[in-house]
Amino acid sequence: MRRAVIAFTAFLGGLIFLLAGPAHADPADCQGLRGTLKLQGQPVNGAKIAVTTESGQPVKEVTTNAQGTWDVPVDKPGKYKVTLDVSTLPQNAEVRGGNNVRTPTVYKGNCSSVLFALQPKGAPGQEQQQDSGGQTSMWEQAAQLAFEGLNLGLIIALAALGLSLIYGTTGLTNFSHGELVTLGAILAYAFNVGIGLHLIPAGIIAVIVAGVLGYLQDRLFWGWLRKRGTGIIAMMIISIGLALVLRYAFLIFFGGQTEAYAQYVAQPGIQLGPISAAPKNLVAMGIELAVLIVVGIALLRTRTGKAARAVADNPALAASSGINVDRVIRIVWTMGGAIAALAGVMLGLSQTLKYTMGQDILLLIFAGVTLGGLGTAFGALVGSLVVGLFIQVSTLWVPPELKNVGALAVLIIVLLVRPQGILGRRERIG
């Protein structure tokens, strides 16, 4: 028993060691204002930024460097006024919302980030991953959003599949699944930026490593808890504790900033009918779809897949008909860890990396899983795609920062109307 705890600690330690590569610390002795100007992911060079005190005394005037960053150290904490000179921006850029003055507060010994969100001129005042620019018709916009929704939905589906299978086979509602997604993204970053591999081999290694860690996690931790007879609810709260541990371990070794991979950062979009898409997203969606289909076929056709579905259906019956339940669960954890990591790599590719990225989509994963029916593999796929599409397309009507609210509201409504989800069987849920 104690050995297992020590082993799990060692596993976490190993994880931390693995992550130590790309670690870098923020300068602690920083007091001032800083920021990064980016237009559609590209740094903006040479924009003028003037910093004055609250009463208008000039402090310093700076221009952004080639990375788009600027930095003004100040002597005294307090309120400052930061003005971005709009005339020094590139021709096609404007500040989102039109306001080019910020009044941040500098605290003692802290650097405050000042955000100026830039967008191409004439774009609607809302956030979009690929901006179609100019005035587009409602239908073109809907098509573009549907494409982005599909992209997001496939990523959610990858993560949801593992979550749903783990729930089905072990009954565990795993709140640390989001951190498995982050883990994949950060492992790939470590191999990509830390060691210097190209993103494709780095991503493959990350997925394999995450699969091994998924196996070890079940072997050393969750399997041990099951043997001890720990209750399902207790395990659920334990998974919350594990999520906290992992998330803040990521914060320590990865830092609180957002990062991008070394390759495929800013790709010009190509026009496909009404949709403008970066080639990387098309490739990523292809890979995601292929993986989902392979896993789906494996579940339907292979012995292990059938065994997994049998265990999910009724573990006692599966065990009595000669299926090695523990082995099936190990395989499910390995696969779940690996495809969650793949989801993380893809999420990092299509957006950016942050230590909270998994936590941020965890509820969307839950929404997808619940919508499809908790514990059913194919339900998770369908549910996730619906959630992804719904989130993006809903931005036609709701402000983008509230798009997740819609998805979560749908989650609640589904539980009211059809608690077993789209593909779930009717059983006791309430």
Binding site: G256, N404, I429
Partner: protein, 336 residues
């Protein structure tokens, strides 16, 4: 290493603002989780609607402070009803997911640009606590510049404002504990505990399980909302991200640490939680500052202490799910 400061901040944190506000909210959570067995993962939202109810009433609508408190309490009751109607029929794990989702919806609306005029976006609202400090007897009636005493060489002093917040907070904790103690000894409280043990048995006795769960959700939510008021008044501001999911998880750690289904469990849990957290942070931060620890900086120490919270939660649930004072038979951690 400045041990005097470390000991002073640690001892002060045993009764300090954070202990009080988390403690009172955790008492509410204990009503849900400890006594009724409701896995409410949205307790932070109750604090949030209360804090924002007060803030918006005073700053945006310009109404007096006491009206704001009333609005906050009503908002907490409404949230309990809204969250309870779809979720209370559900099994424990579904309930957990939906309450988290509900709390996230509340937080996202508070921080959204669309409602910036009302809720102030991600900066939140400030400037609503004057009514509270205007009646501060520690500033206007007593005249000491700070309150406290010296414990040997260790100074333990609070400013008049802090003293007032802490005083009110502990009065609220005492009231909440009293209410919980009396209610849980009453026939009503016995029904709640019976629901935790076996819902179907209670139903077969002709009790409306849904109605009792709803009453429990409202009661715990209202007690939790007191924590939101204390937060808003103590820091004279509310921000949406303070009322995020992690806040709820910290409260779970406190409830389980002290002992679920015990009147003083959450209070002791909150005191221990903050004492340990402040002590660990103080020692590590000082050690980093003094150069004894070189492999991490002060920001990483801040993250490290939350790792310890997670680790503590894991170890507690594995080895001592009943916490310090709890009874193992009374913990609702087996699936039903």
């Amino acid at each position: 290493m400045d041990w005097i400061t470390i000991i002073s901040t640690t001892l002060k944190s045993a009764v300090g603002v954070e202990t009080v506000l988390y403690g009172v909210a955790a008492i509410g959570l204990n009503v849900h989780f400890g006594y009724t067995g409701l896995l409410n993962f949205g307790q932070a939202a109750f604090m949030g609607v209360a804090g924002y109810g007060l803030a918006v009433t005073v700053t945006v609508m310009g109404l007096p402070f006491w009206v704001g408190i009333g609005v906050g309490l009503v908002a907490a009751v409404l949230l309990a009803l809204l969250m309870g109607i779809p979720t209370l029929h559900l099994r424990a794990d579904y309930l957990a997911i939906v309450t988290i989702a509900g709390a996230e919806i509340v937080r996202l609306i508070f921080r959204s640009v669309a409602f910036k005029d009302v809720f102030g976006g991600s900066d939140g609202q400030r400037g609503f606590s004057n009514g509270f400090y205007a009646i501060n007897p520690f500033e206007h009636f007593f005249t000491a510049r700070q309150y406290g005493f010296n414990l040997g060489p260790v100074p333990l002093f609070f400013s008049p404002r802090q003293t007032w917040v802490i005083f009110v907070g502990w009065v609220l904790i005492a009231l909440a504990c009293g209410v919980v103690f009396l209610l849980m000894r009453s026939p009503w409280g016995r029904v709640l505990k019976a629901i935790r043990e076996d819902e179907d048995a209670v139903r077969s006795l002709g009790k409306s399980v849904f109605s009792y769960k709803m009453q429990s959700l409202v009661l715990g939510g209202v007690i939790g909302s007191l924590g939101g008021f204390i937060y808003g008044l103590a820091y004279a501001s509310v921000q949406p991200d303070v009322f995020g999911t992690e806040t709820t998880f910290y409260m779970y750690t406190m409830v389980i640490l002290g002992g679920a289904a015990r009147v003083f469990g959450p209070v002791i849990g909150s005191m221990l939680f903050w004492v340990l957290l402040v002590l660990v942070y103080g020692v590590l931060a000082e050690a980093v500052g003094a150069g004894y620890i070189t492999f991490m900086d002060v920001n990483q120490v801040g993250a490290l202490r939350w790792i310890l919270v997670g680790l503590g939660l894991i170890l507690l649930l594995i080895f001592r799910p009943q916490g310090i004072f709890g009874d193992k038979r009374e913990i609702a951690i087996d699936a039903r």
